[in-house]
Symmetry: C2
Subunit: 200 residues, 2 copies
């Protein structure tokens, strides 16, 4: 069986949210699995010299409009949370604590965190907020709160982020399909074609 598609994203990325609503269905149409891999986009920005889009002259106002317009076209809800951008450390650590235990639960938590943040515009920065989202999936909130303080989990997220940057990841979403890199939900039409044809 073919290797899973690597789906790198930051929970604070609106385009990552849009991608999260499409990626599994896209992969599924071609019999492929998806490995979700949250990382710290801010660490990549230190390498590239970029900053959050909404803080940039001209680019900020455009992207605010494009987030909402792209969501309308995908028929998914979109509300920008306040504050934005926000620290996504708690959600990313919770994800990595879960993923080796129960990968389907980890993916469900990621989807629900994204939906809370960008579908409902809620503040998901704190571990309390993430634990409360997890509780509705049957996860023990106390265990989750404890988990994200474990040095092993902190190190795991650091290592995942470093490995992402070493592979060339600089934005969110960022995919690898059989080694081929694709940046942005706006490359999904290319990913679809790549999967259908084996490359072009």
């Amino acid at each position: 069986m073919a290797a899973p598609i690597d789906f790198y994203f930051d929970f604070s990325s609106p385009y990552g949210y849009l991608a999260s609503t499409q990626i599994d269905a896209l992969a599924g149409r071609h019999g492929r699995e998806v490995a979700w891999r949250p990382f710290m986009l801010g660490a990549a920005f230190k390498t590239t010299g970029q900053s959050p889009l909404t803080q940039q002259p001209l680019r900020g106002p455009y992207h605010l409009r494009d987030f909402a317009r792209s969501a309308r076209l995908l028929k998914v809800p979109f509300t920008l949370p306040d504050p934005f951008p926000f620290a996504s450390l708690a959600a990313a650590r919770a994800f990595y604590w879960l993923v080796d235990r129960e990968s389907a639960q980890a993916k469900a938590l990621a989807r629900d965190v994204y939906h809370a943040a960008y579908g409902e515009g809620r503040d998901v920065r704190s571990i309390e907020a993430v634990a409360s989202i997890g509780q509705r999936l049957g996860l023990d909130p106390a265990a989750l709160r404890e988990a994200v303080e474990q040095p092993a989990i902190k190190d795991r997220l650091k290592a995942e982020t470093e490995s992402a940057i070493a592979r060339g990841v600089f934005g969110s979403p960022f995919l690898f399909v059989d080694g081929e890199p694709f940046w942005g939900h706006d490359r999904f039409y290319q990913v679809e074609r790549w999967l259908a044809t084996g490359g072009f």
Copy 2:
């Protein structure tokens, strides 16, 4: 009749080249005309703090790959000229000298300059190179060489660039469809839908 689509681009932009091979056909499918508007992307970069993509860590290597891959998907030839990025002042001035005289010729010149630069990887920086491309379209090379030195033409390009930035243009290609801004050839699927439905 509906207003033309504004198509902003810099001759030194690979994604602008890709867009130039598609935009008139796209607009034509919806009975629309296109106003081609070269501008100086470097002036917008001064406002946004951006720099040419290929000079950026991580983003540079990715985009080199993406230029070529996106061109293959569109089935248009692609060769990166050397040097890249390059000064596109002569081509942009020549375009504005022509556009009020013979807009079809101006568009033909723009297409041929883009094709020479990115279809064939040729150096199109000098007015001699642009005049030689124009000559094959029946344009007088001496007139073209003289035209780009006229203060009125220099001012025209400056004014077009300032007006573009004032409208929020920060990248190439950049379109306005009935006031709605779209950045990137990768938004053409949205432009197509926008034109078909009158907005979404």
